[in-house]
C-alpha cells in the first residue's frame, strides 16, 4: 500500500547517501527508542499477553482459580450461536458501509473536482462530520431516529412518506442499516478527500487522448476516471473496512447490540463477554479472532484490488 511504496522508494533513495553516514545506526536507534518503547510496551506486549490470557479460563467472577484450558476458549466461543450471529452482523455492517462510503465519496469528489464559486467553502465544511466525536455522532443520530420526537419521523411525516411515527431503531430489520448510515456519514469526508486527491492526480493527457479517440463524457468517466481512481479506492476500502469491522462506539450509544441481537457485532460480543460476563479468557480469544480477521481482511483487499492495478 502507501507505506509499502513509501518504504521502497525511500530505501532506494537512501542508498545514494550511505557513504557519508558511518556511525548512524546507533544515533538512529537512539532517536527511535521512545516510539519503539511505547509501541512495544503498549501494543506488542499487551497483544502477546492477550494471547496468553486466551489460553486460560480467567473469570473475574472466580478470581482465585485460573486453570490453563489450552484452545478450549476458542472452541467454546466458536460453538456459541451468538458468535455466528455476531460474525454475520459484522460482515453485513462492513460490506454495506464500505459500498455506501465509496459511492457517496465518489459523488462528492466529482462535485469538488469541478471549479465553481463556493467550492473551497464546501471543501472545508466537508471536514465537519470527520471532526465530530463518534459519541456525539451516535447521540445525534439517536435523536434523529427517535421514535417519538425524532427528525427522521418529522421529515418523513411532513413529506407524506409515513402516516404515523415509526420506531426506527426498534425494528430489527432496519437497525443495522441505520447504524451503518450514521457510520457512513462520519467516514465519507475522509474518503471523499482521498478520492479527490487521486482524481486531481490523473494526467490531463489521458482525457485529451480519450477525447481524440472519440470518447464522450460518460465514456471518459468510465474508461479514464474510474480505472485511474483505483489506488484511491483501495485506500478507502481498506481503511473503511478496518474501521467498520471494529466499530463499537456507535453500537454502544445507539442500540447496545439490540433489538433482539440485530446489531450484535463482533466488537459488541467482545465487550459483553469481557465486561458483562467478566470472562476475560473467552473475551481475549474473541479479540484474537477479530484481530486476525482484520489482518486477513486488509491483506486480501490489498491483494485483490492491488492485482488489478
Amino acid at each position: 500500500m502507501t507505506e509499502a511504496r513509501l518504504a521502497n522508494s525511500s530505501v532506494v533513495r537512501r542508498r545514494s547517501s550511505v557513504l557519508w553516514l558511518p556511525y548512524e545506526p546507533r544515533t538512529a536507534w537512539l532517536l527511535l527508542a521512545p516510539v519503539m518503547t511505547v509501541l512495544a510496551g503498549v501494543t506488542v506486549f499487551p497483544i502477546l499477553y492477550s494471547l496468553y490470557v486466551s489460553f486460560f479460563s480467567l473469570k473475574l467472577t472466580r478470581p482465585l482459580r485460573v486453570p490453563f484450558v489450552g484452545l478450549d476458549n476458542y472452541v467454546d466461543v466458536v460453538q456459541q450461536d451468538i458468535f455466528w450471529v455476531a460474525v454475520s452482523r459484522t460482515v453485513v455492517f462492513t460490506v454495506v458501509s464500505v459500498i455506501a462510503v465509496a459511492v457517496i465519496a465518489l459523488l462528492i469528489a466529482l462535485l469538488l473536482d469541478q471549479t465553481f464559486r463556493g467550492r473551497r467553502l464546501l471543501g472545508a465544511l466537508l471536514l465537519v462530520p470527520w471532526a465530530i466525536p463518534s459519541v456525539a455522532n451516535g447521540l445525534m443520530w439517536k435523536w434523529i431516529y427517535d421514535s417519538h420526537y425524532g427528525a427522521l419521523n418529522g421529515v418523513l411525516l411532513q413529506a407524506g412518506v409515513i402516516r404515523h411515527y415509526l420506531a426506527w431503531l426498534g425494528d430489527p430489520a432496519k437497525t443495522l442499516l441505520l447504524i451503518a448510515n450514521a457510520f457512513v456519514w462520519k467516514e465519507v469526508p475522509l474518503a471523499a478527500i482521498l478520492i479527490l486527491v487521486t482524481m486531481k492526480s490523473i494526467p490531463e493527457d489521458l482525457y485529451k487522448a480519450a477525447t481524440v479517440d472519440g470518447a464522450n463524457r460518460p465514456q471518459r468517466f468510465l474508461h479514464v476516471t474510474l480505472p485511474s481512481l483505483r489506488p484511491g479506492f483501495m485506500l478507502v476500502v481498506v481503511y473503511v473496512a478496518m474501521v467498520a469491522i471494529r466499530q463499537f462506539d456507535l453500537i454502544f450509544i445507539l442500540t447496545e447490540g439490540g433489538p433482539a441481537d440485530a446489531s450484535h457485532v463482533m466488537s459488541w460480543q467482545i465487550y459483553v463477554e469481557t465486561f458483562r460476563n467478566l470472562s476475560f479468557g473467552t473475551g481475549a480469544a474473541l479479540s484474537y479472532i477479530l484481530a486476525i480477521a482484520t489482518f486477513a481482511l486488509a491483506y486480501f483487499i490489498i491483494r485483490a484490488l492491488g492485482q488489478r492495478l
Binding site: 518504504a7 544515533t27 462535485l111 464546501l122 465544511l125 471536514l127 462530520p129 466525536p133 478527500i193
Partner: protein
C-alpha cells in the same frame, strides 16, 4: 439555432449560444449538487444545535420545530452552573419549571470532564511530538539496517483493533493501580496516535532535501542541532497537522476511556456525554446541548486548520 440560415452564421451561433445554455445548466446542476451535499453534511448537525436551544415543551412537539420558537439557554446554563444553584430532585419545580427537572445533576460534570479531556489531549500531543519527531527524523534522514522494517512495524501496530487491546490493558492498568487515572489514558492514546504521527512526519521530512542536513553538519551542527534548527522550522505545516490529529483523536476517543475511567476524576467528555444518553429520564434537549459542547472544539479546530488537515490526510495518498 435552426433559425440561422447561412452555414457561417450557424457556426458562430453555435459557439455563442450553446456555451451559454450549457453554462446555465451546469451552474444549476452544480448548485443543486452543492445544496444536497451541504444538507447531507450539515443537516444532522444543525438539527442537533437547534434542539439544544429548545426547552422540554418545544422539543417534544410533533412535528418537530426545525427552528426553535422560544430559544433558551437553559441547557447550557445547567452545564456551567455552580452546585448551589443546581437543580436537584427537591428543588427542580422551583428552579426549573419549564424542563421539569429533566436536566441531571451530573450536568456539572461536563466542565471538569472538559478539563480532563484537555489535559489528556495536551499531554498526548506533547508526547507525540517529543517521541515522534526524532523517530521520523531518524527514519527519513539516517541510513541504518532495519529502517524499512521499522516503518512497517510502526504502521502495523495500528492494524490491531483497539478492542483486542482492551483486555490486557485493563488487566495491567488494574494491576498498576492506574484505573481511574489520567495517566492510563495518556499512555494508551500515545500508542494509538504515534504511528500516524511518525508516518506523516517521515513523509514530510523525506521531501526536504538531504543537502540541508549535510550543510548543517559541515557547519558544525550535531544531528540534534540539525534537526532543531534546520528541519523543524521547515516542517511546521506537518507539525501542525500532527498536533491536530493527535488532539482530535484523544478528544474523541471513547472505548478505552470507557474501560479505564470510573469517576469524574478521570472521565473525559465522551464518557460524560455518553452517560447522559443511557438515562431515559434526561431531556433530549439537554443531551443535545452536551453533544454540542463536545462537538465545538474539534469542529472549530478542523475548520480553522482545514488546509493543514487535508494536506496531512492526503500526504500518504498522493505518494501511494
Amino acid at each position: 439555432m435552426s433559425v440561422a440560415v447561412a452555414s457561417g452564421t450557424r457556426r458562430t451561433e453555435r459557439y455563442r449560444v450553446r456555451p451559454r445554455a450549457a453554462g446555465i445548466a451546469r451552474a444549476l446542476g452544480l448548485f443543486v449538487a452543492s445544496a444536497l451535499t451541504l444538507v447531507y453534511l450539515l443537516g444532522p448537525v444543525c438539527w442537533m444545535v437547534s434542539s439544544s436551544f429548545q426547552n422540554e415543551a418545544e422539543i417534544t412537539s410533533v412535528p418537530p420545530h426545525w427552528i426553535p420558537d422560544h430559544p433558551t439557554l437553559r441547557n447550557f446554563e445547567a452545564i456551567v452552573e455552580r452546585p448551589s444553584r443546581a437543580v436537584t430532585y427537591e428543588t427542580r419545580s422551583k428552579i426549573d419549571p419549564v424542563s421539569g427537572g429533566y436536566i441531571p445533576s451530573t450536568a456539572r460534570n461536563l466542565l471538569p470532564a472538559m478539563g480532563n479531556s484537555l489535559i489528556v489531549a495536551g499531554a498526548v500531543v506533547l508526547l507525540n511530538l517529543l517521541a515522534g519527531v526524532p523517530a521520523a527524523y531518524a527514519l527519513a534522514k539516517i541510513h541504518f539496517r532495519g529502517r524499512a522494517s521499522s516503518i512497517y512495524f510502526i504502521l502495523s501496530t495500528r492494524v490491531v483493533p483497539d478492542i483486542a487491546l482492551v483486555v490486557p490493558f485493563f488487566l495491567f492498568i488494574r494491576k498498576l493501580g492506574l484505573l481511574d487515572n489520567l495517566i492510563s489514558l495518556i499512555v494508551t492514546y500515545l500508542a494509538i496516535t504515534v504511528p500516524f504521527t511518525v508516518f506523516i512526519l517521515v513523509n514530510y521530512f523525506e521531501a526536504l532535501p538531504d543537502e540541508l542536513d549535510k550543510a548543517a553538519r559541515v557547519d558544525g551542527c550535531s544531528r540534534l542541532q540539525a534537526l532543531l534548527h534546520v528541519y523543524l522550522p521547515l516542517a511546521v505545516p506537518s507539525l501542525v497537522a500532527v498536533t491536530l490529529f493527535a488532539f482530535l483523536a484523544s478528544w474523541n476517543e471513547f472505548l478505552l476511556a470507557l474501560m479505564f475511567t470510573q469517576t469524574i476524576a478521570s472521565q473525559t467528555v465522551p464518557i460524560v456525554v455518553a452517560s447522559f444518553a443511557s438515562d431515559f429520564t434526561i431531556s433530549f434537549s439537554f443531551i443535545n446541548a452536551a453533544g454540542v459542547i463536545a462537538v465545538i472544539p474539534p469542529v472549530i479546530l478542523a475548520l480553522v486548520f482545514e488546509r493543514y488537515i487535508v494536506s496531512g490526510l492526503t500526504a500518504g495518498a498522493v505518494k501511494g
